[in-house]
Homo-oligomer: 325 residues x 2
């Protein structure tokens, strides 16, 4: 596989020295040798520890620290600024759901924008959609792209798709520059921990620029809180998104063992369009015979689990706001 | 609340001294002071660590060690022989799903048997069902019951239900002594880590004695592997259960953050009866106005999430065996 844009100068590798990453700002910081300790400020007083079988990569870009190690049962694990970004074992769940929940909810997605997601896994998933003609990605940190291309070829394979156009830069600025009504779908894969920009579901200006960049009946998907977070509520976010997008707004969740609480949420929004988008019931099934540039069919996603992702525990459903159906 | 059968002699409490429980048999054993480290042999090379805010109870029965501590965000956490049994924060998911998946799948459960489940949470959930006339529980270790009654009143409240009959003894022997066709539902809540008996879904004799103890069209629920376990497969278990129970056999899963991989599976079986049990579509809705002895409505379970629990990731669905629908 030939990768483009590889800039080896950003990569500093030390394959031999086991290290321990210690995060600050947490209420307790357990440390022990040869282990990576994942601590999330939303889940104080707990930690998820992984033994480092082998350090694969350590590097630093102008934006962040990147660390990759081989784990015992999760395959390779990628760490950005001390926060677990993905593991080879369970990236399928996050990447497939974040991609196919929006793209399978509209009939013929043609133009798709990905903000963040430099690993390429979302690109790999978008690539499964035959109707898509153009895939734009705006990633801030070129090192992320290069490291994934080097060490996670089954994820970065998304870049092989000839429909992909890579833009290196700030996603917020990129969206503001987009002509109105350009995209059928916008996917945001930017973690709060990732530095220069974040999934700002509380930033009205950012949300308005996304809504403007979407076609009528276009869709947005973005990461949202786990239902298990302390004082979980989506009421304000859903009200805000309803006011700005003026179409459907829903919350879904999925299982990702390596994320805090073992699960993660998603917010799905559609702009007002010719027909109402019903996120819970996919209208656009993946063709089981076509994988795009991926090496096989989805590992996690199917139409059943698409609908199931919108079924919430009683305690979470009550935190969606009074108008949530 | 008045509890019966309280035998304080089995309880030895030290509320002050923080301790660290170290489990053997794991591939690595990180230790640090004032933390509980949960390691599961099915997930080698990882650990889930909780800060102990306060030690609540330490004791030892003839069967096992029991340890209870106050955590920062999971409420009190109960540890049996070094294995996390439940946390106050997320016990709702496991207890409600293990109970209502079977009981809401049949029209009028009248006699229910619980094997294990000494904490009382399953009893609390069975108690929500008005149709139930008799609730038998067979728990091996009386200390478990007493400790939960003392320190987890919202869970052990299940014992308050006057329909409950407590049997202290071995669950396997108890089931073998049951007259054929006694129960509408049997629920097994016995962890492999719990010692003297385990959820022996591979033990044909045990399964046959359960099938015999059930009425025609009666149902069994038991804990099963998480879909995220290495080399996950349910094919043999499902085939074995089909051959023995001769009715419906299904696999479901739910989110439990404090369990390894953040999720757990269930096996549901029905014996051959007057009508086919369709576990995926509950025929018996919980009355929203009636809570039994519980203090309020279910926190996790609802009819939507009942059905959603049977929707599996693509990789898991392919491991159910060729005849699984």
């Amino acid at each position: 596989m030939a990768f483009q844009n590889h800039d080896a100068s950003t990569i500093v590798t030390d394959h031999t020295r086991p290290i321990t990453i210690v995060q600050n700002g947490a209420s307790f910081v357990p440390t022990f040798p040869d282990c990576y300790v994942n601590i999330d400020e939303e889940f104080p007083g707990e930690a998820h520890v992984y033994k480092q079988e082998k350090v694969i990569f350590q590097g630093k870009s102008q934006y962040q620290d990147f660390f990759v190690f081989q784990s015992q049962t999760y395959g390779k694990i990628a760490i950005l600024d001390g926060c677990l970004q993905l593991t080879e074992k369970d990236e399928c769940s996050y990447q497939e759901m974040l991609t196919h929940l929006p793209l399978c909810s509209i009939p013929n997605p043609r133009k798709v924008l990905l903000i963040g997601g430099g690993d390429g896994g979302i690109l790999r998933e978008i690539s499964r959609h035959d109707s898509v003609e153009q895939i734009d990605i705006c990633e801030l940190d070129e090192m992320v792209i290069n490291v994934y291309k080097e060490f996670f070829p089954d994820i970065a394979i998304g870049y092989v798709d000839p429909r992909v156009n890579v833009h290196i830069g700030d996603g917020v600025a990129f969206i503001k520059s987009v002509p109105p009504g350009t995209y059928d779908a916008i996917i945001i894969d930017a973690f709060p921990g990732m530095g220069a920009y974040a999934t700002e579901l509380s930033d009205e200006d950012f949300l308005k620029s996304i809504a403007k960049a979407l076609k009528p009946g276009g869709v947005l998907s973005a990461q949202a809180d786990s239902v298990w977070i302390k004082n979980f509520t989506m009421e304000d976010t859903i009200t805000r998104c309803r006011n700005i997008f003026k179409g459907s707004v829903n919350y879904a969740w999925t299982s990702v063992p390596s994320y805090p609480s073992g699960s993660i949420g998603f917010v799905l929004c559609s702009t007002n369009g010719p027909s109402v988008v019903d996120f819970k019931h996919p209208v656009n099934q993946l063709d089981p015979e076509k994988f795009g540039v991926a090496n096989g069919p989805p590992k996690f996603y199917n139409s059943e689990i698409h609908t199931a992702a919108f079924c919430l525990p009683a305690f979470a459903k009550s935190k969606m706001g009074s108008t949530y159906a």
